[in-house]
């Protein structure tokens, strides 16, 4: 499965997204490299995108995001992306994870949503191998990401 193919640093990365939560627009973007000769797909990068904003940019950061989701309110203020908080909804206390975006908007993730996202996460990686992702994770710059996003139609206004 993991025979050596050239560590190609071009822009032929195909991005496919898994929608982890539709209401809150949380997506898992997976960058695939396609080996045409062997007709195989290799995962080269995994990031989290919320609304039109990148939250993480490499595998290590994305794994932190996933673990913070899994911990839910067992996490604390040392968390990097998701912060446990409690709100009162209809005079009852409710726990949630808060995700702050760059423009100040706060997204609240409930416990069930977090669990569903973890399940989807597992499904999204089920048939793929991680060895190539860890060995040759694609180091991308702002420019290469922009070109890849444009090539895969992410910059197109869908409405």
């Amino acid at each position: 499965m993991d025979e050596m193919i050239e560590n190609y640093n071009g822009n032929n990365i195909i991005i496919s997204d898994v929608s982890l939560n539709n209401d809150k627009h949380i997506k898992l973007l997976r960058g695939f490299e396609v080996d045409e000769s062997g007709k195989k797909k290799y995962m080269r990068n995994v990031v989290i995108m919320v609304e039109d904003e990148f939250i993480t940019s490499n595998v290590a950061d994305t794994m932190i995001f996933k673990e913070e989701l899994a911990l839910f309110n067992f996490g604390d203020k040392q968390n990097k992306y998701l912060f446990p908080s409690s709100r009162t909804i209809e005079q009852k206390k409710a726990n949630s994870l808060d995700l702050k975006l760059r423009d100040g908007k706060v997204i609240h993730i409930t416990r069930s949503e977090a669990r569903a996202m973890i399940e989807l996460w597992k499904m999204a990686f089920k048939t793929y191998t991680f060895s190539r992702l860890l060995e040759f994770e694609k180091e991308q710059t702002l420019e290469t990401w922009t070109v890849a996003l444009e090539a895969n139609g992410y910059l197109q206004l869908s409405e």
Binding site: N58, T141, L142, W145, T146, Y154, L155
Partner: protein
């Protein structure tokens, strides 16, 4: 006896009438002949082909190499060489405007783009932020815009002076899109004042009461007679190619210095064949 006299009379009458009819016919024919004599029939014109030795006829043109883009070269040929708009100060101002749009790397944001905010961890571990979206290239828009205006001139009749003034005014009107010229004017100007300031700097060879300035004012007021210019611009935007672009926090533009543009003295005598 009587019969013989009657017969003779009848003969005499017949001869008299026949002779009279003949005279009438002749009288009718005469004026026709006169008219034919007076008005000569048009002669079938022969085609006259004149051969000019175009190697010998030379005009003062700018060398094409001062322009970088093939499109600006095409428009220089289309406007100055084909239409022979050689008079000053139109010629110099036109090529200076072409040079500005040739050198510019400015862009405007596409109408059909989504913005994605990126945050990338670099090799050092530090973060780099940026926003990616799709943009139109200003030089491509302007060259399409100019093409549309010239197409309108081909289909409708405009005097030479009007054509020249509209071309200059339309190009000067869009100068505020060129970020490389931003340094020329003060920062706290609104868009109309900035356009006026840039127009004055570029059209410095024209007198203040020249028609170009009048057309610029008409463009600002969106005059009815110049609606085709707005249509040409919108048409150019509609079919424009989009490019991916990432905007980082700090953006710097190279300034285009007006002193580096061509001047009247850099013209050379070039034959029409060279284009």
């Amino acid at each position: 006896m009587y019969i013989a006299i009657i017969v003779i009379l009848i003969f005499a009458l017949i001869i008299y009438y026949t002779s009279k009819i003949g005279v009438d016919d002749e009288q009718e024919i005469e004026p026709e002949n006169c008219i034919q004599d007076r008005v000569p029939q048009p002669e079938t014109s022969k085609e006259v082909v004149l051969y000019f030795n175009t190697d010998m006829v030379k005009f003062a043109f700018y060398h094409v190499h001062v322009l970088l883009n093939y499109q600006s070269r095409k428009f220089y040929k289309k406007v100055v060489v084909d239409k022979l708009f050689l008079d000053e100060p139109f010629h110099t101002t036109f090529i200076q405007l072409l040079q500005i749009y040739d050198h510019t790397e400015s862009w405007i944001k596409s109408q059909k783009t989504k913005e994605i905010k990126l945050k990338i961890r670099t090799k050092n571990g530090s973060f780099q932020e940026g926003t990616s979206f799709k943009v139109y290239s200003i030089s491509e828009i302007i060259f399409d815009f100019l093409g549309n205006i010239l197409e309108h001139f081909d289909n409708n009749r405009y005097s030479k002076n009007d054509q020249k003034n509209v071309i200059l005014a339309a190009l000067a009107w869009k100068l505020d899109l060129v970020m490389e010229l931003k340094y020329l004017c003060e920062k706290d100007l609104n868009c109309i004042e900035r356009r006026e300031c840039l127009g004055n700097k570029i059209l410095k060879h024209h007198e203040k009461n020249h028609d170009v300035f009048q057309i610029l004012r008409m463009l600002e007021a969106r005059h009815e007679k110049l609606l085709f210019v707005f249509e040409a611009y919108e048409k150019a935007l509609k079919w424009q190619r989009e490019y991916p672009y990432v905007q980082k926090d700090k953006e710097q533009h190279k300034n285009i210095h007006l002193e580096n543009l061509v001047t009247k003295n850099s013209k050379k005598l070039i034959s029409l064949d060279a284009f």
